[in-house]
Amino acid sequence: MYQYNEQDQNLINARVEQYRDQTRRFLAGEIPDEEFRGLRLMNGLYIQRQAPMLRIAVPYGLMNSVQVRKLADITRKYDKNYAHFTTRTNVQLNWPKLEEVPDILAELAEVQMHAIQTSGNCLRNTTTDHFAGVIADEIEDPRPWCEMIRQWTTLHPEFAYLPRKFKIAVTGGPEDRAASQVHDIGLHMVKNAAGEIGFEVLVGGGLGRTPVIGKVIREFLPKQDLLTYLEAILRVYNLNGRRDNKYKARIKILVNALGIDEFRNRVDAEWDVIRNTELALTDDYIAKIKGYFAPHPYASDAVDGISVLENQLEDNAEFRAWYERNTREHKIAGYRAVVISLKPHLKPPGDITDVQLDAVADLADTFNFGEIRSTHDQNLVFAHVAAGDLYTLWQSLRDLNLARANIGTLTDMIVCPGFDFCSLANAHTLGVAEQINEKFDDLDYLYGIGDIKLNMSGCINACAHHHVAHIGILGVDKGGEDYYQITLGGSSREDASLGKIIGKAVPQAEVADTIEKILQVYVANRSEDERFIETVRRIGLEPFKERVYAAVN
């Protein structure tokens, strides 16, 4: 992974001291509340329902064991012994003290971490595929490009006061595990007719109040033009995006208002001016950054572990279930990518304790070249585990309550913290997640349902991406009571689509029962091997509506 040089380190150290001084001046009454709000948000600090919340950046979801141990330590020292992973692959502390945040940032800087631009109306953390670099059909590892984007976005002097927040996702091949089509900019590595590798560029996707699938603005962008083109898009947005209404300020609204063709014309006009400036990437820089993402020293005898593994799979059904649901193919024979489930029974999705963080760091050192990835669906990944190590790793993870074999199943939900923590939320989410977990605890039933994506947001801001879930749940407030609106048919993958509302919102107590009815319709209608989303697309919403809203006799 990328290692800071002296300049990178100096930058984050200076940023810590800058923020320390801003905090001091705020506490001394020298900065008005509203202005400090902008400053603290740009450094990841929200004031929440019960306490501040600090969002720490995990650039493109990649960490090393030293960083994860530091996170564990920080949760012990400054928080309540746990942290929460988010859909931007970042990590949140729910109980830091505002006065102590500069000290937390100083500790993070020791391990090359920070909270720069994890909130606010600025360029946010860039995300990517959590299987980047290990997928066989990947065109190229997207992470070096994410790192170049990270550097360009970090403390960008011109784009710190955008109309609204701005999120970029990059994928390395045809599969999309980064929800790239619902980002302000989605970048897909592609190969053109001449065999050159570059980017397909999408713009104007997003969720929130106005969910939109991104539109193609450029079918092929040469690699060296990546940053000049991004800068052209950002400049057009910064100058033309609406600033009179924060609900209409995202780039998707501008793209829709101008139309993609006019928007493209404006970007191209700006790009013409800056395309051949100093911002054009150099071969040396590209090669240097790629050097940080060279393959790990994989063991040539790892394939020998496969026969051992096969016996272990034969002997232990529980291990086999975990292997089938929670591991994925790796392009190097003898290795697997492992998803560590942060969706245990009856615990908030995405939460992890200090003890678990420390243990994960140790396991990463032993089995995964010291690397840990966070995923946009709030799990962790060990991307390079030798076949012969899987059983031992599984046993350790099971002891840590991190081996629930539910990846890709109904209980592998994306859930925002909801009303329990978030001051924006209209409704609770964590209790409903528990209700769903209690109802659908039977793994054989879940495996029978198969691949399905359920996401739940506690308000229209859609932090949990409910619009692009196969089953989306949106919490709404009706006269002081929590109700839940259900959408079906969304997808954040390469076949991205927005879910459609099936009818009026259901009361809190009926959410799990409603999902059960939906699943019954699926089971009754599916043809062989048809996934839930495919059945919904084939038969439409009507059969689901009929079942869910059938008059009670």
């Binding site: 300049q7 902008g38 360009w152 403390l155 400049r235 240097k288």
Partner: protein, 160 residues
């Protein structure tokens, strides 16, 4: 209202005029609102004094860009500190070759000064109640720049 020019407190040698007193001062060094510049472009660029134009994010920078060699000062208004359009205005002016003064006006306070300077501002009109003598320490708080800026166009990978 204290004025910083190139990080030093300076007197303001420019006169802001409006529709009513424009004709009385047309041959002096004046700053005119964008609307006046738009309405009297020809007479203003041919006047004897130096010309400054005050613009905000809702107005069309292109009109100034078309007459850049006749303009000596551009004052960019920040109606709120959250309005980031002025940063792009300054960047575009500098890359278009403008070497006159670019002055930040309005909600201009300490924690934006460093980014403003990097985008090309060299003058800052700071509200008196937000001014303090140590305000210049805001410049250079973060000494490492990944991006090019108005005074050094090289991004990090072309520095050194």
């Amino acid at each position: 209202m204290p004025l910083l020019i190139n990080r030093v407190v300076a007197d303001d040698s420019w006169l802001l005029v409006d529709e009513d007193n424009l004709s009385a001062h047309i041959d002096e060094d004046i700053v005119v609102p964008y609307e006046l510049f738009s309405a009297h472009t020809d007479s203003l660029i041919n006047a004897a004094g130096k010309l400054g134009v005050r613009i905000n994010g809702d107005q069309d920078l292109n009109l100034i860009l078309q007459h850049l060699d006749k303009v000596s000062l551009v004052a960019i208004e920040f109606p709120a500190f959250t309005d980031g359009r002025g940063f792009s205005f300054a960047r575009i002016l500098r890359r278009s070759g403008f070497s006159g003064q670019i002055r930040a006006e309005g909600d201009v306070t300490r924690d934006r000064l460093e980014y403003m300077e990097r985008c090309g501002f060299d003058a800052f009109a700071i509200p008196a109640d937000r001014y303090s003598d140590d305000i210049v320490s805001a410049f250079g708080e973060v000494p490492v720049h990944y991006q090019g800026s108005a005074d050094d166009e090289r991004p990090i990978f072309r520095q050194n």
